[in-house]
Symmetry: C2
Subunit: 442 residues, 2 copies
């Protein structure tokens, strides 16, 4: 960090944050800084905070192998033309991506989603896909987004970057409070706002771990059609159910109206270090001169001015993994799935042991159907000062739920992430967490 530098001309540069983009001074930005900082300050703390996928199977040898496999695939598809294969892999590339055909096959194999590869935009992670959608849909300040609250922080942040207002929808035990949703739609209409889309994670959401059942998904599709808004379905955790019970179909696979933009990520199932995600945006778009295009083409135009194209090298690492696994990532993630299931099971059992039913401790929690997260309800508000105390004196980290409401108002909940821990760390971590909670509830 530097302070203000004096100069020969006597006019040293100093910018004032209050004169930069409004998102920079917003509580949301401070959230992220605080959460990152507290983890760095207490490296000895066991962290139930970080939602990163498990690292134990990441191997650079796999990356080399996948790059070569994808390169061979290119050479074959170009009839032996090595130069053209090199160009595709190592040069500036097609804006909407070079693995769109493989992604389409992956969606068909793993999610029963069948789309034209031309409707796919390969992005720098799902985050870029989400920002591109919001940027496309936000033309005026009256274009707004709906999202269940508490919400993935990255969605709130992407909306801020696009200067797009987010209207919160209350959550319920089953995911969405539909009465509140209908009320929000009515209020928006009365206020002259246009709801362009509803962002949601239908399977094992972040931060709640909740999933929508099939009836709720169908109801949402009907509402979206009736009120003419899109559904932005983000699905990073769908391949990690806690058991093998049949799963509801994705909203996109139920979609008959091109109502759903499906936002995908290879950050958990592919390779986090590649930073590759995608949007399936097959919505028809009519241009002023009457041409028929796709929303994917609009997103591509915006992307060309944001990142030009997603790194073909990074795409090749994912493309090679898809080719190596017959376009399905389910079996390829068997080990990872077992880690997350085992961690979730261990955490839930460990909580029950330390906070038994009828124990009068005031602590309860949900039982997610899968994914990385669960929510602990505790008999005290969880603010950042408390997290700092928990880290410093009890050496355990978790995430205060207020960060997912985006308004800085502490609530009596905290999020636990179980994705990047060993069983020993879970056991010790829960001991520390219990000690912390007990210290707050005399």
């Amino acid at each position: 960090m530097t302070g203000v530098a004096e100069s020969a001309t006597g006019s040293a540069t100093e910018l004032r944050q209050a004169e930069l983009h409004a998102s920079l001074g917003h509580p949301l930005a401070e959230s992220m800084d605080f959460l990152n900082g507290v983890a760095l300050r207490y490296p000895g703390a066991i962290s139930f905070a970080a939602g990163r996928p498990t690292e134990r199977f990441l191997d650079l040898d796999d990356v080399h192998r996948h790059l070569d496999l994808f390169h061979r695939h290119l050479v074959e598809s170009y009839g032996g033309d090595q130069a053209r294969a090199n160009q595709q892999l190592l040069q500036y590339g097609r804006t909407k991506g070079i693995i769109h055909d493989l992604v389409a096959r992956n969606l068909a194999a793993d999610e029963d989603i069948h789309v034209d590869p031309e409707s796919i935009v390969v992005t720098v992670g799902c985050q870029e896909a989400l920002f591109l959608c919001l940027r496309a849909l936000r033309r005026t300040p009256d274009d707004v987004l709906l999202a269940v609250r508490p919400c993935y922080v990255g969605a709130l942040g992407a909306a801020q970057l696009a200067d797009m207002a987010v209207l919160p929808v209350a959550a319920s035990g089953s995911g969405i409070d539909f009465a509140d949703l209908e009320a929000r739609l009515a209020a928006a209409s009365a206020a002259g706002q246009r709801v362009r889309a509803f962002y949601l994670v239908a399977d094992f959401a972040n931060p709640t771990g909740t999933s929508l059942d099939t009836a709720a998904r169908t109801r949402l599709l009907e509402l979206a059609a009736r009120h003419d808004f899109l559904l932005l379905e983000d699905n990073p955790y769908g391949l990690f159910p806690a058991d093998d019970a049949p799963r509801p179909p994705t909203l996109k696979s139920l979609d008959r109206d091109h109502r759903v933009v499906y936002l995908g990520s290879y950050g958990k199932t592919g390779l986090p270090g590649a930073r590759v995600g995608f949007a399936v945006a097959d919505q028809p778009v009519r241009t002023p001169d009457g041409r028929a295009e796709l929303l994917a083409d609009q997103l591509g135009r915006l992307k060309s001015m944001l990142t030009v194209n997603t790194s073909p090298l990074a795409q090749a690492a994912i493309g090679g993994k898809l080719l190596a696994n017959g376009f399905s990532l389910r079996a390829a993630n068997d080990r990872e799935r077992e880690v997350y299931r085992g961690n979730l099971r261990r955490t839930l059992a460990g909580l029950t042991e330390r906070f038994p039913p009828g124990g009068g401790h005031g602590v309860s929690w949900n039982t997610p159907g899968g994914g990385f997260f669960l929510v602990l309800r505790v008999p005290f508000a969880t603010d950042d000062a408390l997290l700092e105390l928990s880290a410093r004196s009890f050496r355990v980290l978790w995430t205060p739920m207020h960060h997912f409401y985006g308004d800085g108002v502490p609530v009596a909940e905290l999020r636990l992430s179980v994705s990047n821990l060993t069983h020993e760390e879970i056991d010790t971590g829960l001991d520390r967490l219990a000690a912390f909670i007990q210290s707050q509830t005399p």
Copy 2:
């Protein structure tokens, strides 16, 4: 492309482009589409249009080697900890990047720029770096950008994505028309606009090929200090001078006030397929509660909501190349530099042969000091219909200069790019270009 799909609910989705972000219907977006499309429609045409770097030395074996070299570097710096090295390379990573220390050494070695690695943000190409700067600086509609016109299309596009107005500054033979610049500053002030920054490419600019001399650079720094705006110095071509004459120093290396944000790219000198660039943003920023930060930290916060982090895998490909070359890319690009020099020389000689001095043909051109581009002045306005005719009937592509003015008004100039051609293609291409030009000037 799909048309409108009918649905069971009878409420098929169709978006109207006119209700999406304003950049989508803008002439600039149509520019890019047209230019991309015409190249695809005429694959047999020789292209003086595409500004891509040469591909002839791109090799996947180098990528494998560089990834391993960077991995070994990580293992060493972590005292043999393979797990930690894997984590750094293959997991979600540090927002501002994982090769910032290597980039700092590269800047010191190649550009005499000496900065704290904490002031560097590694981005998805220079394009993301530029967008982040504009997003940070554009708080209200009165925050505007200056840019020399004709301008790199990507800069105009990034400004549109941030809803930031761009005020054009006239070019001159030596780069910037300073009288026009001062007039623009006065007009902006009178209109209540705040000029936040001036975007420029000081060396071998796109599209003009012009470079600023040292006196102009110093004058620009003084103006920026006097009127309190930043200089966004984009330098993709600096390592490709046409001869070995001493080069003016970068604006950043002359900067004593933290007035310059240096935007770098490894797209031409590193590996285009990695998509890695960076911003050096060491400007002090004062927060409302009095803390001293850097502009790089603000860019990092915005980036975390846009792309989360730049692919560590892609960064490793660049990091490994930097390590393999003692942090300098000058010698590593000797072959590429020779290609561009040779192509420029051949093109200039070929133009002189076909359009000799005193020949009464009305064709003239500039002689750039390096880079990929030169501008041909011709005795007729060059519009897109003419480019289509040139492609179809004469099988040669070039770029109508109006695309770099961003207003769709044809001018009597065209840009030639010489970067991705062989000598034979240049010779044949110039024959075709001469035939086309002669067909327009009876």
